[in-house]
Amino acid sequence: MDIRVQEGPFAQGEELDAFAKGRPDVGAVVSFTGLVRDLAPDPMKHMEIEHYPGMTERAITTIAEEAQQRWSLADVLVIHRYGRLRPGDTIMMVATASRHRADAFAAAEFLMDYLKSRAPFWKKEVTGDDAEWVAAKDEDEAALDRWTPRD
């Protein structure tokens, strides 16, 4: 399990190569990369990501451990940046390695759904003179429901 919360950029391709390498028991690797979008007609100058140092690492570790309990995973990678990012920059990435593709996919989606709404990051979009905090989406909160055990 490799969890990194950092201000600086990371190279998603190199990270994927390193993550997938030398795992004789792994048949499936899934990765997700989140990027800063640049949507017309309101071009963003930059994005500021605030986080809660200490709690961030704890929350992500808890989420990753839960994923490892739910699915058969050889490894989990989470990298999440904070600070100032520009359009096109990679915000974060998640990767999962498993014998089977179903586990790798499910775990990656689970990690993303929880990181969205349960890891203490807050995004602010700065456009020209204006700056606005990104509002949490109802659909992101709703996405967590599918992981709730029903019994």
Binding site: W133, A135, A136
Partner: protein
């Protein structure tokens, strides 16, 4: 003595990222009432508690959570990671 932290627009409305608070509150909700009584900017920040989340000692919890032995309480809007 408890460390109280604010993030994102809660931090901006209150105007500081953290402070140490002398309190007799036994729950998060009681602490919120004490803070609201202080100054207008606190009352504003905490006016709609349903728009806020709280963590006690870096664990997400509810507003009726006890503060016994808590060292750090953080208030913030719903998270937008990923």
């Amino acid at each position: 003595m408890i460390d109280v932290m604010y993030f994102a627009w809660v931090r901006e409305r209150i105007g500081l990222p953290r402070e140490t608070v002398e309190t007799t509150a036994t729950t998060v909700a009681e602490l919120v009432e004490e803070l609201k009584a202080r100054e207008e900017r606190y009352a504003m920040a905490f006016s709609d508690i349903s728009a806020l989340r709280v963590a006690v000692d870096q664990e997400l919890t509810d507003f009726d959570a006890p503060l016994a032995r808590a060292r750090e309480v953080a208030f913030f809007p719903p998270m937008t990671g990923g």
